[in-house]
């Protein structure tokens, strides 16, 4: 690991001024992604600004029924929080399906949003990777790409977004609050991550001097009936091949509200708007669920090692939606 200057920010203003004064600085949350990438010399900041002492570790109820989550709330605390378990079970479950007990104790909400891909060539500095080195080429296209995406890819990059938490946040229409010396702004989480296009190294809408301060989740009645399912190569402690976050509310046999997002298959946490369109007011049946999943995956582009994900995602979407129905085909 290269040497760097370390600053522990006592308050938000100090953190914001420090990052705007130093062109090659990085914020340090739990460190579970940044320290790893610095050790591999993929990230080489000159200055590391430790933000874990900032007063941003609260989970609070918003007027109207939403919840505001500080950027420094640890993943394990968020997953176990009564407000989240009660109102947004899909979010609690998504977090618990990621990483391990130890890592979730360290990982912060802000860091989870900004974690980088697990594409093996991104980590292998001896291979070409457009995300690591713009213009170098993409070793995954012709190489090992079992864990890459089938939706939102470009000829420049196929890397899947690795986060479980973000998949649930996308389904829930959460917003990310960010701050810099220039002010505060809010970004819908579904716009926060970028598609790779011709610039896969630009991964989010966040400017280098912006600090994520909170995530806000709006109220959603259907979210009380929500679930996360993750399919992976081993039972636990592995990234998703495919994952599905879903919330469902059925009335008189028809879908009143359906929210759906996919993980493991998209270059960003993938909100399944096509599927939601097909589900709107459709009968709450397995056929309709299947049609919705197919509509979403129509645009998927499979490659030799990852094409299996397309059918796996279709089946997982249908299974999760079916699981959200009670035995009489309704919702609780």
């Amino acid at each position: 690991m290269r040497s760097f200057a370390y600053l522990s920010a006592p308050d938000i203003d100090t953190a914001l001024h420090a990052v705007s004064a130093e062109p090659n600085a990085k914020f340090l949350g739990g460190g579970t992604n940044l320290v790893d990438l610095m050790r591999e010399e993929i990230e080489q900041p000159d200055t590391v600004i430790d933000i874990t002492r900032l007063p941003l570790a609260e989970v609070a109820e918003l007027p109207g029924g939403g919840v505001r989550v500080g950027a420094l709330v640890r993943n394990s605390h968020l997953a176990a929080h009564p407000l989240i378990r009660e109102r947004y079970p899909v979010l609690s479950q998504a977090i618990l399906h990621g990483a391990s007990g130890q890592l979730r104790n360290m990982a912060t909400v802000g860091g989870n949003l900004l974690q980088r891909t697990r594409c093996v060539y991104f980590y292998d500095t001896a291979s070409p990777c457009n995300k690591r080195e713009p213009g170098a080429g993409c070793a995954a296209a012709e190489g090992f790409h079992r864990n890459t995406a089938v939706l939102g890819t470009s000829e420049h990059c196929l890397a899947a977004h690795p986060s479980d938490m973000c998949v649930a946040l996308a389904a829930l229409d959460a917003a990310v609050e960010v701050r810099s010396v220039r002010g505060v702004r809010r970004i819908p989480v579904t716009d926060f991550h970028r598609l790779p296009g011709a610039t896969p190294h630009v991964e989010s809408d966040l400017a280098p001097d912006e600090l994520v301060t909170a995530v806000e989740i709006p109220p959603l009645r259907a979210a009380a009936n929500s679930r996360y399912r993750k399919v992976r190569d081993r039972a636990s402690y592995a990234f998703a091949l495919v994952s599905v976050a879903a919330a469902l509310e059925v009335e008189d046999g028809r879908v009143r509200t359906a929210r759906l997002a996919l993980g493991g298959v998209g270059t960003r946490p993938w909100r399944a708007r096509e599927a939601e369109r097909v589900l709107a007011d459709a009968p709450a049946t397995e056929e309709a669920f299947d049609r919705a999943a197919e509509a979403e995956l129509a645009a998927a582009v499979g490659r030799p090692d990852n094409a299996f994900k397309i059918d796996l995602a279709r089946r997982t979407v249908t299974a999760v939606l079916r699981r959200l129905l009670t035995t009489d085909g309704s919702t609780p």
Partner: protein, 163 residues
């Protein structure tokens, strides 16, 4: 160099460390406490698990400077019924993963007692779920054992949890 004060197993240590030095290397190389093991150095195996103010973390991904003012417990500071239960249930072979397994299991039992859910807990459950074999394995999945002593590990934890 940055001066950090970390309590390790109840003893206040004042150390001069480079910001890039991990808590794991600080324990092993600077303090000579080699009970905490380095397996992968990338968060993927759990051998380096220690307790920070009672919570389990991977010390390989922790910078020592970040833990200034915190209280760390390593295997050297632990005297717990789990240790004897691991021996009785053959919860180890080479023993390399064991310090991490023990630290992790102690914190896991504590998380469970506080009512924390796991990925296999029914979402609707509000009280602490019963600590079944499935729950134990899921909650301990951050600790790999290259020797495959998992059955003994799960049995030892189940026995202590049932006491």
């Amino acid at each position: 160099m940055v001066e950090v004060r970390i309590r390790v197993n109840g003893v206040e240590e004042v150390l001069d460390v480079e910001p890039r030095v991990s808590l794991l290397d600080t324990l092993r190389e600077h303090l000579g406490m080699t009970g905490t093991k380095k397996g992968c150095d990338q968060g993927a195996c759990g051998a380096c698990t220690v307790l920070a103010d009672g919570e389990r973390i991977n010390s390989c991904l922790a910078l020592a400077v970040q833990y200034d003012g915190r209280s760390i417990t390593t295997i050297e500071g632990i005297d717990h019924p789990l240790q004897e239960a691991f021996v009785r249930h053959d919860g180890l072979q080479c023993g390399y993963c064991t310090p991490g397994q023990i630290c992790s299991a102690i914190a896991m039992l504590d998380e469970h007692a506080r009512g924390a859910p796991s990925a296999v807990t029914e979402p609707a459950a509000t009280a602490a779920p019963e600590l079944t074999g499935e729950e134990i394995r899921e909650r301990m999945s951050g600790n790999l054992c290259r020797c495959g002593a998992y059955n003994g590990i799960a049995e030892a934890i189940a026995e202590v949890a049932a006491r």
